[in-house]
Symmetry: C2
Subunit: 216 residues, 2 copies
DNA sequence: CGCTGTGAATGTATTCACAGCG
DNA sequence: CGCTGTGAATACATTCACAGCG
């Protein structure tokens, strides 16, 4: 939004991730017809504390009314803009395996404005198939396909071994944001952004919590 | 391992998650025939700094030799034990949709000893199908199925709206660890562990980094 | 010597606590 | 009054820097 304050301070990554959670809760509240919400109530729903919420929001401006709280609809749309979700994003999906397919079909993505406009794979058995009318293209066509579709983000759902190569080529072709599912550290150029989802790390930190429970 | 020191100090979650990353790197090094590795080299591969590595390891014991470094094979197997991966884990998968299927087929999980022993869904069209010989059962059979298979962990790949109910019932049936993919906060009893993977949060924090880039 | 292991120092994130506005 | 917004205080994580062992 043009009216948003958009302060340019250093904001922690965890803050931003929490904002995303607040947004979802505000959607629920809006659906339930709630008009205002306090930081206390929001904190309860988000599983955090009120100060955390107010601090997170304060990095971006001032959204509440003292004495009453936040207008649900306003706050939600402000957060939407802060997160850069008040527009559509064109996404290229690399890797048309099971994981790629699950991501492609994930309804939540489309709901937040992420549109898969290109699918790439190296498997000749996959190339030429299409998913919901989007043709799976070979890796050779990468640059042309990105240019033609105007993809801005890429989801990497390839084997770990090839992830870095994929990112390098796509970054060179102008992709600015990468969501990497390959369980391997990858580097991106400084002008690009990267998030990694490592599913094995999640399971392994879970078993850490449970290891050697001889007691009840 | 029985010789492991297994110190009982408060260890940060990020430390544990990094350990999981070190483990993967050590596997690679072992495969390449490397016998020893220094914290400096490991840091380089992991994208962190040597002190971080030494500190992370120091929470669990002392694994290196001053002057030379760490024996790759030893360190790897020690970390394996620390993470609780030196045994098999029986996993129940709830939700046989696209995401559930992708998780089920994810080779990395099996490689680390996570075995899906039960699959549950509520869709009558899914119930009775089988994946790799594992029959998809209805939610009504939940308790019996968990008891019969001895599942210890659960992967929640259901819609957000039902996630809490699923977790409640499964926790009551004795599941101690949950990996939740539903984009909703869920609570687990104090004796159970929980990790959440929220795919939309990842994409949304990515677009945050890229929002309003008018400059080049 | 070289590299680990670790207390001490620094840097970040979270929480407190209260001034101030509606 | 009630609840936000925020500087100050606390808690936590990372990095430094060096003593000490192989």
């Amino acid at each position: 939004v043009s009216s948003g304050p958009a302060v340019r301070a250093r904001v922690s990554d965890s803050s931003v991730r929490r904002l995303s959670g607040y947004h979802r809760i505000l959607e629920d509240l809006e659906r339930q017809g709630q008009e205002v919400v306090s930081s206390a109530r929001l904190a309860e729903l988000a599983g955090t504390n009120p100060a955390q919420i107010r601090k997170d929001l304060s990095y971006f401006g001032t959204f509440g009314k003292r004495g009453s709280g936040y207008r649900v609809e306003d706050l939600r749309s402000q957060i939407l803009a802060i997160l850069g979700l008040n527009r559509q994003w064109k996404v290229a999906l690399v890797g048309a395996g099971n994981l790629g397919h699950a991501i492609f079909s994930y309804k939540e993505f489309a709901r937040y404005g992420f549109n898969v406009v290109a699918i790439l794979d190296i498997d000749p058995g996959k190339i030429g198939q299409n998913w919901d009318g989007i043709r799976i293209c070979g890796w050779d066509d990468c640059d042309a396909l990105l240019a033609a579709t105007g993809a801005e983000l890429a989801v990497i759902a390839t084997p770990a071994a090839v992830a870095q190569g994929v990112v390098d080529r796509m970054a060179k072709a102008g992709i600015r944001g990468f969501l990497n599912f390959a369980p391997r550290k990858v580097d991106v150029p400084p002008e690009a952004a990267l998030r990694t989802v490592n599913l094995t790390i999640e399971l392994e930190s879970l078993t850490f919590d449970l290891r050697d429970w001889g007691r009840s």
